[in-house]
Amino acid sequence: MRRTVSAMPAAFGTRRLGWWALRGAATFTMLYIMVPLIFVTWLSFFRQEIPSFPPEGYSLRWYEAIAGNDRFVDGFLLSLQLGVIATALGLTVAVPAALCLSRYRFKGREALNSLLLLPLMVPGVVLGMALYVSHVEVEIATGLPILGSLGGLLAGHVLVVIPWTVRLVLASLAGFDRTLEEAAQNLGADRWTTFRRITLPSILPGIVAAAMFGFVSSFGNLEMSLFLVGPGRTTLPIAILQYLEWKIDPTIAAVSVVQILLIGSAMLITDRFVKISRVV
């Protein structure tokens, strides 16, 4: 009896300690992630040109400055186009590839699986360098204007998008019950109708999440793009980098805030239609 009485608060204490440790770790991690974002946002509203604390005052002038800066506007539009098209192309590769990988056992399946993940594992600089060299070689051999072309840049971005989209579509196919396809076929649907009416709607959350991640990875890509952009064609991350070489005023912070808001709201909107957390 005495043992029970004395043991109980001890167990209770350990439990409380664990609870606090968990909260502490979670809070620390959250801060670790959030602090840079908070500072960037704060900084973008500073009035003075040289970031220093405490701020001399607040203004929206840096946001106005972005709109007046062609390099940022053009960069943003190019990155947006690249992201959307590369994601669309990436998905047309990823969906059939994922279906194939998840359903069939064939020779070289593992190799194909790794190959589709490879662009994610190779450092961006290496990938950019390799693409650059191969563009040079192909251009010399064929005389086609590949180097620094929009097509070359887009092809690179498709490569960056593919690993994300394949992974996420594969994940959603893993949770798909294939009996549903048999049920549809039993009811008279051929293979294509079955895919369109049953399989596709079921894996749609995965595809949306795949598009989301693909777009973000293309939109934010810097290292690889550095090798592939041509004259007069600058993506937003490169425009930011170039700007930073000359100035460190809060314009960059304002650009970052716009980016954060754009991607954040895209995530929130997507999440309203499909629960991303369920797929990723």
């Binding site: 019950d177 009996t179 549903l180 048999e182 049920a183 549809a184 076929q185 039993n186 009811l187 008279g188 649907a189 051929d190 109708t193 009416r197 049953i198 709607p201 079921s202």
Partner: protein, 355 residues
């Protein structure tokens, strides 16, 4: 509705024979049950009828025409899956309408026949719900309506009741059977549950290791099992090992002599149904076999009582008696007399046994 013929149907995966040479005719409007333990080939047979498995030999004919090489979507079979396989993103109405849409029915006809099918399973009020908003029993009925609505030539049921709780299962059995009779559906059901099979079937087919062991009515299988496997799988039997010494005389391993009907001389086993054994505190008169034994175990099951009786150091019988007021109920340790008619025991020659 149409008749269904399986003609020497076989399926081999490498060296493994999933289904061996199954030949069956299912008459128009007949309810046939394929019964057997898991892995006996019953589900593979059903999937070959639906077209999901290509046979390695034989043919499937529906209404006289060969459908063996037709893809599932060209066969007019309605399959109810064990997991129901309702489309989660479609409403109940849309689920049921699917087969009609695939058959290019007009929107008016689709709506009318969908409503009719849902009325048949008493779910007309739930048409706008999504499957996940329904109970297991309701989902099962939607699956049934979906398989019936396009008037399939053959209705196929793959363990349709195994995901329902016991009480519901009893109700749904009767419900499916009445619906099947009312619509005159040629039906093949697969189950491992013998009670379910016995309740629902017009005719049963017992399968094991890919082959048909016996096909027949409930009475055929129970009273005249073709082999030891069937005697064991359908209903309960006590098996006593021994040999047939001379025609009509069986000698157990424990040395007891029992009168039996037929059987070739040689090693054999004797199967006796528990409810055919009479049990009494006094010697039994006028029976073919009468033995003495000691009660070792009594289990009270409500409607009946099982009594395990030791009749020799090596043999034990199970007798089942009805639980009626005033009847003799022995206690553990009691000495009792047991007896049965020769015609109630069946002799199976060893080697003819299944497993």
């Amino acid at each position: 509705m149409a008749k269904l013929e399986l003609d020497h149907l076989s399926k081999r995966y490498g060296d493994f024979h999933a289904v061996r040479d199954v030949t069956l005719d299912v008459a128009e409007g007949e309810f046939l049950v394929l019964l057997g333990p898991s892995g006996c080939g019953k589900t593979t047979t059903l999937r070959m009828i639906a077209g999901f498995v290509e046979p390695t030999g034989g043919a499937v004919r529906v209404g006289g025409s060969d459908v063996t090489w037709q893809p599932p979507w060209k066969r007019n079979t309605g399959l109810v899956f064990q997991s129901y396989a309702l489309f989660p993103h479609l409403t109940v109405n849309q689920n049921v309408a699917f087969g009609l849409e695939m058959r290019k029915c007009s929107p008016g006809e689709v709506a009318q026949r969908t409503a009719e099918a849902l009325r048949l399973v008493r779910l007309e009020h739930l048409g706008e719900r999504l499957p996940r908003q329904l109970s297991g029993g309701q989902q099962q009925r939607v699956a049934l309506a979906r398989a019936l609505v396009f008037r399939p030539d053959v209705l196929l049921l793959d363990e349709p009741l195994s995901n329902l709780d016991a009480k519901l299962r009893h109700e749904v059995r009767v419900e499916i059977r009445e619906l099947q009779r009312q619509l005159g559906l040629t039906t093949v059901m697969v189950t491992h549950d013998q009670e379910e099979a016995l309740t629902m079937a017009d005719r049963l087919v017992v399968m094991s290791e890919g082959a048909v062991r016996q096909a027949g009515t409930q009475r055929d299988l129970y009273e005249r099992p073709a082999d030891r496997f069937v005697a064991d799988f359908v209903g309960r039997s006590t098996f006593i090992e021994g040999r047939v010494e001379s025609p009509g005389m069986f000698r157990t391993v424990g040395g007891l002599a029992m009168r039996c009907n037929g059987g070739a001389v040689g090693a054999a086993s004797l199967a006796i149904r528990p409810e055919r054994i009479s049990i009494s505190p006094t010697p039994l008169v006028g029976v073919d076999n009468s033995l003495e034994g000691t009660v070792e175990f009594v289990s009270y099951l409500g409607a009946q009582i099982d009594i395990h009786i030791r009749i020799s150091p090596r043999e034990r019988l199970i007798a089942q008696i009805a639980n009626r007021a005033g009847d003799f109920t022995p206690l553990v340790g009691d000495g009792v007399h047991v007896g049965w008619a020769s015609s109630d025991a069946r002799v199976f020659e060893d080697g003819a046994e299944a497993s």
